[in-house]
Symmetry: C2
Subunit: 390 residues, 2 copies
Amino acid sequence: MSNVPTPLAPPTRVLLGPGPSTTDPRVLAALALPTVGHLDPYFLRVMDEVRDMSRVVFGTKNELTFPMSGTGSAGMETCLVNLIERGDRVLVGKNGVFGTRMAEVARRAGAEVTVAEGEWGRALTPQAFRDAAGGAQFKLLCVVHAETSTGARTEIAPLRAVADELGAMLLVDCVTSVGGLPVELDAWGVDAAYSGTQKCLSCPPGLSPVSFSARGQEVLAARKTPVQSWYLDLSLIANYWGSERAYHHTAPINMLYGLHEALRLVLDEGLEARFARHATNARALCTGLEAMGLELVVPADERLAPLTAVRVPDGIDEAAVRANLLAEHDLEIGGGLGPLAGKVWRIGLMGASSKRANVELCLTALSSALAVQGFAPRGDAIAASAAAYA
Amino acid sequence: MSNVPTPLAPPTRVLLGPGPSTTDPRVLAALALPTVGHLDPYFLRVMDEVRDMSRVVFGTKNELTFPMSGTGSAGMETCLVNLIERGDRVLVGKNGVFGTRMAEVARRAGAEVTVAEGEWGRALTPQAFRDAAGGAQFKLLCVVHAETSTGARTEIAPLRAVADELGAMLLVDCVTSVGGLPVELDAWGVDAAYSGTQKCLSCPPGLSPVSFSARGQEVLAARKTPVQSWYLDLSLIANYWGSERAYHHTAPINMLYGLHEALRLVLDEGLEARFARHATNARALCTGLEAMGLELVVPADERLAPLTAVRVPDGIDEAAVRANLLAEHDLEIGGGLGPLAGKVWRIGLMGASSKRANVELCLTALSSALAVQGFAPRGDAIAASAAAYA
């Protein structure tokens, strides 16, 4: 190339899409702390604290709990390739993009995959898994707690009994739930789980906390074949995060500084207060959207506080609305994926993004962007959302 | 946990180990820029510039060139799992940890691996590959350009002819070479290569630039089976980095800001000037170490400018020396790996860490740490290194 690009100067967006959420300035500042070595005694302490705080947000005492050096999808693949050996039978709940992805990753790991299909935009029921299983036994039951592609929340606790009936371990995708709604791996009897940093933890994308129960660890230890991925092999990585401190790969030091600060802010706020904040702002957003005359995708009792999917009204160019929000209001919301592409918007209120000012900005800006295309709101969204806060 | 940890305040180390190197303050500042969405028009431009600059440091016009969302080992695994299908024959050069790792990753991808063994601390010769091949044909010849575990540099250009004789593609590990010594993928006829960010690019660890030639891309397109890793499947990721911009996983936004700035600084300095700087400082370091009476592991003409391995003198506790350097001088150097564990130190002069002040600090601090254990230097290391600069 002939010219050297100029230094970056990104715009300051309000991030109300499906993730990344807005990064707290204190987390940004942590990212910029001086890099130390991955075996520096100081860094080993950082790792210990990250591990301890990860346990708190997962609701677990699991020894094997730490962030993988990749994004949420790397965490998904980590759990699947470590638990699966070729020919294993795996049952996957599929009611959105991320269940679909779990099934695909499991197949590539050599599993025989059975899918429990559910409607996009609805929770998966225990019965859906029983029906799909058809009386067979499985090694693993996989389910997405918070389906980021639709905004539906599936209850995990009742699935422990289903997994037991099937002789299966229980693997849960907690990417969009950790830090935004209650996650209780130990109380629910979850054997393996993964999350991401860029949703309700409000750290930039790049790491994926995972956690394995004692039973999950036993299955790892009893493998007959090596894990197909060396990079994601937990038996090797646990020797770095554990007391051995054996070098595996060079940990993403500065990203881990950021995650340390993000987790610290979660604990400082307190989990209960944080969940209440997410719930309150989501309720106010939903109330405002419905007051405008927009239709929500997910029934109220299956909705996800961190993410709300709303139907695009007939005759509206949804991409033009998003372009308008970005250009005129520095506001990002998300479009639909898969069968919902072009049909819905996805509005995230995650972590630092979940606050009243953002709810009001979103309702105001969306009204204005819709007005450009001639859509007349049914009622006063801001007044309705204000009432929801009262 | 009962108490929330305090905010981080890492020490400012001088990083002269095998990586991470010292991060330039401008790169740290870039990491802390406001997060935007992974499909934001602004971010798409950042991606384009990162891709273009990555091509420059790789010495290539390869279309498929971009950073993977993981550390250097993820880049290694990316190249291997995308090129290998089960049963493929792969020839791997092994003269250190990273060749050993390539062989292991290739086996896990289902390859039949043949190893061309070389001495640790020496370059691999074309003949070593011919001898190991024994007249057979291979799909892939794998070699490490700059062996970070020993400091030996293997000439890549002559291996193109060997690969052609074997009917093989040529895959090169450029983790410690990119940005520190000449890398010319196109001129050398390399089909696939990967690097890391935390060595001579002086960006924190977390990303791994990869590049595939047209032939490498054809092999990807002609695969009969899916890539075993979904996270690392280049056919999917290329749709995000290419003009389609199809969502695959959420890119590590802020890490990519950092890499953008790191690459910008490389281009701003100029590749030739940067390579000369690395060579000069390495020569001065080696001169100083030898003046002290220490023995270098690698013969002069096979040495790697970014990394110098030096033998631990008899009777010296090497770990105590490193602990002293860290505690008394805030200076990190590396220990040995594998058969060299306990026997060598590895001193990196990579990227922002490669400067005269660091050479002098290293020689002074090392003399002082050795003196604690009664080692008397043969001559004046600082004077000798100063002469090397003259």
